[in-house]
């Protein structure tokens, strides 16, 4: 279970990333944020976002058309 949940369903690029960035501020270092999205472009975008920001993408999966990302805040 993630420490915070962000529902970004129905939002299009770049809103899932922008909302996730904002939500991560409320996550303690070492804590996790789960993001739900319906934008297929978010898959590659969250990978890139985490690579550049240094946050860790613990999990990325799709279930019933909903993309789920689990991000660990590292700094």
């Amino acid at each position: 279970m993630a420490d915070q949940l962000l529902d970004a369903k129905g939002l299009n690029c770049p809103l899932p990333i922008l909302r996730a960035k904002k939500a991560l501020k409320d996550v303690a270092v070492g804590g996790t944020l789960e993001v739900l999205a319906t934008d297929p472009g978010a898959v590659k975008d969250f990978e890139a976002f985490c690579r550049v920001t240094g946050n860790e993408l613990l999990d990325s999966k799709v279930e019933g058309g909903i993309y789920q990302f689990l991000i660990k805040r590292t700094g």
Binding site: P14, I17, T53
Partner: protein
Amino acid sequence: MEQNSNTKRMSMIVTKGSLDWAYPPFILATTAAAMGLDVTMFFTFYGLTLLKKKLDMSVTTLGNPAMAMPMFGMHMAMPNIVSVIPGVDAAASAMMKNLIKKKGVASIEELRTTALESDVKMIACQMTMDLFEYSLDDMIEGPVVGGAATYIENATECDINLFI
């Protein structure tokens, strides 16, 4: 934002002020800022209007041959000739604003506010302000006034420089 020598930097020259062309610079600026980059936007010519307090952007079908609107389950082409019909550009603008809302795309106002909140630096081109008779009073709070040399100095320190 943390400011150290490892922080990547991006600059952008924003030259266009129509609704469709307003998106690339604000999407890229907000995303880059979210990814930890230090971002500067230089607004010049028609791009300067994107700093106005009240935005009233539109799209035009003129000189926009690739523009096609989803309508009746197909894509309707917008040939140049239709732009002479009164009301076509207004209708196309209304249609695009409607699509933007329906498809969960951010408004330019929201992206601009996010950019300011993420410390994106905005420079308003002084020459354009003189040319088109704008003053900082017409603009949102945040932009500073500068010119080509201001931009160039900034660009020499950037990892990414875009002209949009």
